[in-house]
């Protein structure tokens, strides 16, 4: 006889192996104190994150992040092969400086005539040109009024539409 009987389905349980693994994980986390830390963190997470966010939202930290990002962007814009040249040159330059500083020979000042002669030394000029160009490039932006870098960058590169 198949007379009707009712049955309340209990809520589903995890599979046995999953359960065991979970138990084991919980045990380990507890032993290491991680669980307590996480619990504390989670229960206060909105507050903690808000405090963090408040801290970050100061003028100084915004500047720091922006500066870091600007450096990152600048680095990002240099093709790696050129960057390699730069680092090589930089290392070479440092080596030379180190040599110069360490050779112990006292150098006399060139004097006016010596300076004049130096200006006609082709090799020296060749060596100084990039530095001078770099200094020029560097001083150009320094003279300009401060502006949102992003607008400048893109409008000059023809990347964006000119602001009206």
């Amino acid at each position: 006889m198949a007379e009707a009987i009712h049955y309340e389905v209990p809520p589903p349980r995890e599979g046995n192996t999953a359960r065991q693994e979970l138990d084991c994980l919980v045990e380990n986390l507890h032993d290491q104190g991680i669980l307590r830390f996480l619990n504390d963190f989670l229960s206060t997470s909105p507050e903690v994150s808000q405090i963090l966010m408040k801290g970050l939202n100061t003028e100084e930290s915004r500047n720091a992040v922006q500066n870091l990002l600007l450096i990152a962007i600048a680095l990002g814009r240099i093709p790696p092969e050129r960057f390699a040249v730069l680092t090589r040159a930089f290392t070479e330059g440092l080596n030379k400086m180190e040599e110069a500083a360490g050779d112990g020979k006292a150098q006399d000042a060139p004097g006016l005539m010596g300076f004049y002669r130096l200006l006609h030394d082709r090799d020296l000029w060749q060596g100084l040109r990039p530095i001078i160009a770099g200094v020029k490039g560097f001083s150009g932006p320094l003279r300009e009024p401060p502006e949102k870098p992003v607008i400048k960058r893109h409008d000059e590169s023809g990347n964006g539409k000119k602001p009206a």
């Binding site: 006889m1 198949a2 009987i5 349980r13 599979g15 808000q50 949102k148």
Partner: protein, 989 residues
Amino acid sequence: MPESGICTITVDGKQLLGVPGLPLVEFLAGNGIDLPHICYHKTLGALQTCDTCWVEVNGELRRGCTLKAEDGLVVDLDGDNASNARREGIDRIVARHELYCSVCENNNGDCRVHNVVRQMDVPYQRYPFRPKPYAIDDSHPMYRYDPDQCILCGRCVEACQNVQVTETLSIDWKREDPRVLWDGGEKAGESSCVSCGHCVTVCPCNALIEKSMLGEAGPLTAMPRSLKRPAIEFVKEIEHTVGFHPIFALSEMDEAWRQSEIKKTKTVCTFCGVGCAFELWTRGRKILKVQPVEEAPVNGISTCIKGKFGWDFVNSDDRLTTPLIRENGRFREAGWDEAYALIARRFTEIRDQHGPDAMMFVASSKCTNEESYLMQKLARAVIGTNNIDNCSRYCQAPATQGLWRTMGYGGDGGSISDLEQAEVILFLGSNTAESHPVLATRLKQAHKHRGQKHIVFDLRRHEMAERADIFLRPKPGTDLIWLSAVSKYILDHGLEDEAFLKEKVKHLEEYRKSLEPFTMEYAEEMTGIAASRLEEVARTLAAAETLCAVWAMGVTQHVAGSDTSTAIANLLLVTGNSARRGTGAYPMRGHNNVQGCSDFGSMPDRFPGYEFVSDDEVRARYEDSWGVKLSTNSGYNNHTLVEGIHDGKIKSLYIMGEEMAIMDADAHYVQSAFDKLEFVVVQDIFFSRTCEHADVILPAAPSLEKEGTFVNTERRLQRLYQVMEPLGNSKPDWLIQTEIARALGADWDYPSPREIMEEAASLAPMFAGVTYERLEGYKSLQWPIAADGTDTPHLYLDGFAFPDGKAKLYPLEFTPPSEQTDEEFDLHVNNGRLLETFHEGNLTHRSAALRSQVPMNFVEVSPQLARKRGIQSGSLVKLISRHGEIQVRVLVTDRVEGKELYIPENATDNIRAINLLTSDEADKDSDTPAYKEIAAKMEVLEVDGESPLPRQNFRFWKPTPIEGVRTELKWQRPDYVQPPKPAPHPEKF
């Protein structure tokens, strides 16, 4: 001259080939060029609101979404003018839409706003973002609208007005700050919105988003709002300096991270016979959202409330997850092996003691074709009986019968696209907008945009009736009379399609003779519809170039359901409306796979593909393959089995996924029969009312947890893929069946549904060309399917499915309904489905979203009757029929008239379920219960009470039909200037 179908255009000096007439956006996409665009959408067309797609033609700026490709067109994409205009367009967009992608739920790779900003390499925010003077609208239970993020692209409005045609959404361009409105108001949750989800699906950003996505989509989206805001502001500060690029890089990392976590799986909906397919986005068992895709063959971007929002039942806490065995008057948990051993022992004992025909097998119209195939194979090959059936017995068997009699195949004559094309559609007893919602949207579109004519015959003023050109209410159960009278009128007045009848149809004279009693006067008297109105219908139908008939349970669930279905087919033949595109007979299949379940052999007298068990040659084919001798005894069906149990002939029952104890007519009689069974196995995903009678309950897996195929109402096979693992210890039905067969000693060894389909296709000529490869992804096939994979979207183009290729007119007589109203039982009770519920509700009641819309079932009472009985919405009444009684709350509505009542079938207990009122009477030709023939009386139990439908239900609100987005009103605003000129108030619109 260009080759036909191909044109050449010049873009930035390069020649490109493509299809003429395509919008430039599409044309370029076909050539690998991605012209920025946001508001343009393949299905919705060019809305012209976003202004991001500008190009230059002959020195003039044009929108690339409206420009059509034609031979010789010369387009400038990269010139300053076009680039600047596009840039102005996107700058305006980001003035309206705050970019905070990493904490946004829509940053999943398909956000149009994000993608276009990235694609155009927009370097920084030119116009500042300004919040709108509106709060987030959280009033809808399933989705959220955020005016701050809305770019006023109008996609949602277009989808609502012109795809779904519910006509709720609009944008008021005249407001100071335009926004999207619901019925002209600001609350989505208090509107005529039917929650179909179209608007959310097409929204290009996060302005409209599924609530199931909130806080769930990405690693950072769960941040509380109180934290999100300062975080966004912090990033925005930095963005002033560094621009979008580095911030975008972070959000793209976040997006990539999400991709690895979010699983997107194609599935096919199980809530009706339309056969919508879509992607389910999940993380583990969490359903993030349902995302329809344009390539889905039936629905494209469309869904209804159930398909879009109704799947949370799969994670319901009361899922059956382990087998249960009846012991000492209660159920206890058991292992699979123990359950199988018990089933094998009891099945064997009963077969040995009473013979195989003492056992009955019920397949499920919700399960797959493969599972239907296995169920009939289990019954026939392993047990040795033809006692196998499915729930098409409860709904569409009469339609199938009517079509077998006249045209040959028991399926829809064409495709949904034929219905769309037709000039006139005749709807009979079909509440299409609620029972087959997405199919209805396509017909509502044809009606709104193309002037397709809709003629509706129904007892109830439902949405299709409301929108119809002609709506007529016949007296219950009299459709055959007016159908025959209309056919007679057409023949008598020489309005028939003579050539068609001559060439393609037999038995005209016998049929003409059988129509003699069906005069217009008789029809008027019996149906209550004026003869003049019926003549108007006759002339309209006869004059239509193309006519389709759509019918459903209002026709079939009567004692003469097969005859009325036949009368519809007769009328179509008389007017020459079959075997041509845009014509034909379309019985609407109610369940997702009610067509397929019969197609794959779960019927007492037919093998898969409708070949007769009694046919020696066919039987020999199956015997060879299965290696057994098959029975030719005629089998019981779902309805006759009840009598069979009461008569002591049937001793055991194996039911897969059907709530028979509630859904078969005359429920008390059914339940008392089940009490008498010796051994019952029920396989289901929830503990149903039917489970209460079981000896063994087997926990099965719903469609999302398994693979297989379904056949929709237009005979279309589609594949579903496994979205998630079966819950707990539950198993897919095909696996359970395979293991039961093995426990019974059969050598079944199906590793997956693919191999089951291969076997079925090798045996049934109708499915000869079906392979899983041919159904890969969104590919589909409509039966019959030849071995080479050629399918049949339109039946009978090469003749009707009879040996001589000719259709048959089938003479009929009128059989009056079994239950008549009288002085005591003075009310007629109609019943059926609601948009928000499926069948009895075992699935949909467990979906929080769906339940929020319809928390209980009820009875619809006309205002006239309510006045007379002194009741109102919320009153509790007892309805008493000649067979039983139920208690339900009242909903007063003018959808019903006079003494006509309507009760939705969504109830799972003996207090409210409609089948406590129905009788054991059934269609004389197909045994489908006469569910629609109920006479009842009403007792008022409580006058005051809460309305059974919450205030937010769409039925209480009035839509605001308009022609679409009305972008011209935006252009007419004094503050609109055409890009590239800078906008004075870009943040406003």
